[in-house]
């Protein structure tokens, strides 16, 4: 793949745009700047994301839905290039749907995660995608799998991703405890995302939450003025 890429000739010089504020699709790809998060609890998972998509410094979509359904009880949280993650999610949703019909059974979250990993690892040089796969299945209950850029796959009880995640590792380490209830997970996720959105320029908008369990998927949105507030100045 790297050899093929170097065959491509240079398309003239890169003109540095002095005005970084205006969007330019020819040079800047649309990226989900992002903060995403997923937490396991006994009986399901809670996932959350911000809602900002940027092209450079312009916000192309301020109400993006980065929590993408892959199957009835399996979602993925997308970060990185919008085009890459949308394309991968479409491919995996198709593959998983087909596989589930063949099995005549709801698919496993681990299967979905492995399908993501297969695409992300094989095309790791071409893609820029950091994905959290989370859901519920009968075998192992609620699970969170992390497939970061490069195509690693690891299961974690709680995981954060995206450019805003760097600001909340400390918050996560100090505030997450195993054995939280669903509502505590929702509160923790909303708080963590608010903190990240406050500090990361590429994250913002509204907080989208979803909880997935045997009963089904519950989605909610926390608007800007309803977000938990932390600073007093």
């Amino acid at each position: 793949m790297a050899a093929a890429a170097s065959m491509m000739p240079n398309f003239g010089q890169q003109i540095s745009s002095k005005n970084d504020l205006v969007p330019d699709w020819t040079r800047q790809e649309v990226s989900t700047g992002t903060t995403i998060m997923a937490v396991e609890y006994d009986g399901g998972v809670v996932i959350g994301a911000d809602s900002r998509t940027t092209t450079g410094a312009y916000i192309a979509n301020r109400v993006t839905d980065k929590l993408t359904p892959i199957h009835d009880r399996i979602f993925c949280c997308r970060s990185g290039s919008a085009a890459d993650t949308q394309a991968i999610a479409d491919v995996v949703a198709y593959q998983l749907g087909f596989h589930s019909i063949e099995l005549d059974e709801p698919p496993l979250v681990e299967t979905a995660a492995n399908l993501f990993r297969a695409s992300c690892y094989r095309y790791r040089e071409e893609l820029m995608a950091g994905i959290l796969v989370a859901g519920w299945d009968r075998r192992k209950g609620g699970q969170v799998y992390c497939v970061p850029i490069g195509g690693m796959l690891v299961r974690q009880p709680v995981s954060v991703g995206g450019s805003g995640s760097t600001y909340i590792y400390g918050f996560m380490d100090s505030n997450y405890k195993p054995g939280l209830s669903k509502d505590q997970c929702l509160e923790l996720t909303a708080a963590a995302l608010s903190l990240a959105m406050e500090r990361d320029g590429s994250s913002g908008g509204v907080v989208r939450l979803a909880s997935i369990s045997e009963e089904g998927v519950e989605r909610r949105v926390i608007l800007g003025n309803q977000l938990p507030k932390f600073s007093t100045h």
């Binding site: 330019d24 790809e29 649309v30 993006t64 919008a82």
Partner: protein
Amino acid sequence: SFISLILFMFFSFLRNAVLEGEANKVGCSLPAARKTGTTICGVVFKDGVVLGADTRATEGMVVADKNCSKIHYISPNIYCCGAGTAADTEMTTQIISSNLELHSLSTGRLPRVATANRMLKQMLFRYQGYIGAALVLGGVDCNGPHLYSIYPHGSTDKLPYVTMEVASLSSDWFLCSSCSGSGSLAAMAVFEDRYKPNMEEEEAKRLVRDAIAAGIFNDLGSGSNIDLCVITKGKVDYIRPHDEANKKGVRTGDYKYKRGTTGVLSKTVLDLEVVEETVQTMDTS
């Protein structure tokens, strides 16, 4: 799947690179690709969608076409505005329109906007952004009115109102970099201020007209007239032009001189002499 990533062949790029090298050796440059500098936008209203576009196509810093049509037909109930490289938007929309017609004949149903969206995004992703087409796709199908914005790399957003523009690409563009490429920001500012869900048709048309006008008057790459396309269930109103925002002025002075202004001193008439006449029959079979 991504197998097509390995399979696309861009041989003409190698040829173009060679040609560019040879042209530069003699001090010339290859002609710039014609871009629709463009402001395009769309809005979902109570009964359907309104798509709007300006009508200027630029070749570098020169206007190549003062009245080009940027709202392309996809299917009887779906239209698509295109910004970016003019050839790319034209051909991409035509290809998807053709495929969608075949698909519609196969299903026996009116095509859905989501289908057109998926076809467009999968094609653009396959070409990894090298097809410079930024599109605003809108239409009404059995599930109601829908509006999508589609970016050259293949990502899409489904929203109630969208705007799009492309900064022009030229080596002398950086001289006026402060003004260019702000078309969609001006249009989006209008939308963010005045958009309401479930508007009436006239209100929606006024909103789109004002958004495009904002783009035309604040972006050098956009100009001329405003085209609108109103799509409702069972009816499409392609209004071209809806508003001639930049009418060419009428000259007030006249440089023609009346016959007799210059005095005639003498007149000589020379008859043409026919020297030879030949007839050559053309084979029109």
